[in-house]
Amino acid sequence: MIKFWLNQQPVELDVSPDAPLLWVVREMLQLTGSKFGCGMGLCGACTMHLDGAAVRTCVLPVSAAQGRQVTTIEGLSSGQQLHPVQQAWLDENVPQCGYCQPGQIMSATALLANNTKPNDQEIDAAMQGNICRCGTYPRIKRAIKRAASSQQTVSFYDPEQEQS
């Protein structure tokens, strides 16, 4: 029995421990937002968060998730409220075909969680494992910067000051 938390819900599965997390989540748990692109950890389409860190789940056995927190694109927004990174993605009209975008967004959110103001090199380093065949890279860069600055505004927002 493998137990872990998926988007904050407990799950318990009778599954072979070497089954890749990606396919377990897609086929057994019916969350298909995470995509398959290469199966070799080369493209990032399958990126989820494992205890907050971006991981390539096409090459991650489900057993590695035992007792841990797994977050997929479906678990990123809370209710109707989009994650600021998703909002920035909309504002920059990033997606074309859209297939790589869940993975891109999961990598970007993991980056911004650790580094609220990444510079160009840091963005490149965090995002170069995610391929976009449609060529949305210029917009991804802009969206990450936009999200970074909106997060700043939120964290420094001071209601007292606003009232005065």
Partner: protein, 732 residues
Amino acid sequence: MARSRRDFLKITASTASCFVMSVPLASCAASNPALANIGDEHYVHDGFVQVTSQSEIHFILPRDEMGQGVHHGLATLIAEELDIKVDKIKVYFAPVHKTYNNLSYGAQGTWGSSSIRDHYLPLRQAAADTRATLLKAAAQQLAIAPQQLTCRDGFIWHGTKAYPLGDFVATAAKIESVKGAPLVTDSQFKYIGKDSQRNDALAKVTGTARFSIDAKLTKAKRAVVIHAPVINGKVKDFDATRAKQQAGIVDIFAISSGIAVVAEHLWQAKKAAALVVTNWQTSELAAFNSAELPDILASKIATESGIKAHKSGRGRKALATASKRHSATYYAPYLAHATMEPMNCSAEVTASGCQVWVGSQSPEFARNGVAQLLDIDRERVQFHNHFIGGGFGRRVGIDFILEAVEIAKQVEGPVQLVWSREDDIRNDYYRPPSMVKFEAGVDENGQLSCYSVKRSGPNIFPYQLKEAVPAMLPELFPSGVSSWLAGVGGKVVNDWYAESSSVEGLFEDYQVAHKEVRQITYDPGVRNGYWRAVGHSHSGFFKESFIDEIAQLTERDPFDFRLAHLAEERLQNTLKLATQKAGWGQKLPAGHVHGVAVHKSLKTYVAQVVELSVEQGQIRIHKVTCAVDCGIVVNPNIVKAQMEGGILFGITAALYGSIDIVEGRVSQSNFHDYQMLRINQSPDIDVHLVESKVAPTGVGEPGLPPIAAAIGNAVFAATGQRLRQLPFNLSA
């Protein structure tokens, strides 16, 4: 009943929250397929626009969305004429029906950057007629003179009173509909020409956009196919004893293209597939090595005259009288598409017919091919199209769809076939390799006076004919006859007629008194297909690099030389805009150089200036400035996105792209050896649109053709080395 404007806001909010998205099925019962699954009273117009009694506006999208933006762009045309925000329109993928034919090509397919070009007026007319008919119905029902009513935001307005459109659909469905209603004039556009958030973006950033790989078939079995290592190889025999003992395996059997492994879960199928022992019967391609192609094609060009594809003036003969002559030979290899979503398809075959869940650029070919394979009536194939995770021409091919159906035939219930990335790279319809030899003559004034090209390589059409002929023929045509016809057609193309996609883009853009283009077909037998921008994808590189060589020969600035020879004003203006925005001729940072190229493809004009440096033998592209003239722009932001996408797709091909075949086997397999451009190598891109009032043209492909040449021309400016072969290799 009348409603105030404030009520209207409430109503739309509540409908939005309770609306359940469902894709209509291609029902065999409904005479108009767009009617299917949409119950109660509604008003239908031409199968494109529907208004329901709940005042929902449905748009049946005739083309497929694969990133190029038609889901939003074509809906914008409907929005403009109905005077309603784009995101208030529900978009459905069309079923297979002639209503949804691509007007330029006479079949239902998404290709040729034709969607906006084809549909700009017809879709607006459909929506304008819908609006006029609803107004007519409202006037009748309310007994108010039609001139006093307007249609806006999903309501019919009489002064400040607003009546939901749904109130009038029953009447509208009964009266004679209006034809040829006046369209909104260009100066009144509210939505066309304006930026807006794409209507598919929210689904795509939340992971809810449904690609075919995500088809909700919870009970589906999962399948993989073991393909022959040598292209066109066949199964001789196989032993699946061990594989069948693995957990979850449902069945393992041979199909025409390999061995199908079917399991409860995909990972089980993949694991078991590795245990199947197979004996393959190789094909004649086992002796083929693509590394030998350049020599073979060069000798063809040297010894054969080929078929005439174009001749003007005295053609190549005029070389004799030129005061200066120059010749150069270029080459581009096989390329795979590598769409981000690997080929996949789900199918279920039952006694009553077949259902197919797929993302396809050619749903009609696919449906007809499936019907032929199963030997059932076409209307018994229900075809569910999806968002496409990258097409670029790959999903014109229907091979993987037929594979899925062949498997489903032998499996109980639905089955989903998912190709690995390796299957995808090794079983593509490759961009044909191509060699061209240019010869040019310049007169005493430095004007290009003679331009001759010989192109050698395979053609695409014979391969497409195999799939298109059975699909285009009337249903009852015996399959033996249709495959015979496909074979004959392919031979005609190869032997008698220069296929346009083999030579397009090589010669049209410049004004030269004497031109000649000849095609010499040589086909090793590896399947070819349409790859983003098709012939233009390499012609743009060949032609624009060679023109740069002539500019250099005549000691003229590459921009001035082009401007003096370009055949159309729109090409000139596009080139001027790009160079002006890039600061052509101005000082650049130390070590940086510019290269330029301009190319017209699929009726759209694009010029690009690349700024790069060469550091330790490596090309570093810093910036691309792009200008595009695609006539009236429906959505500036999407046009820019398509230019960005085309440029980056073209950079991948220019820097890395090559499919190599050794003894009939494709050497590349996944992204480590078939590299894609990554974000850290992606330059800044600055796109400018030429203002225009002429009819719009497409942008999905035309952003690609100039980029490789612009890079190569800049490398020449930096190093003096002329790059004549793709992908670029500076040490060669």
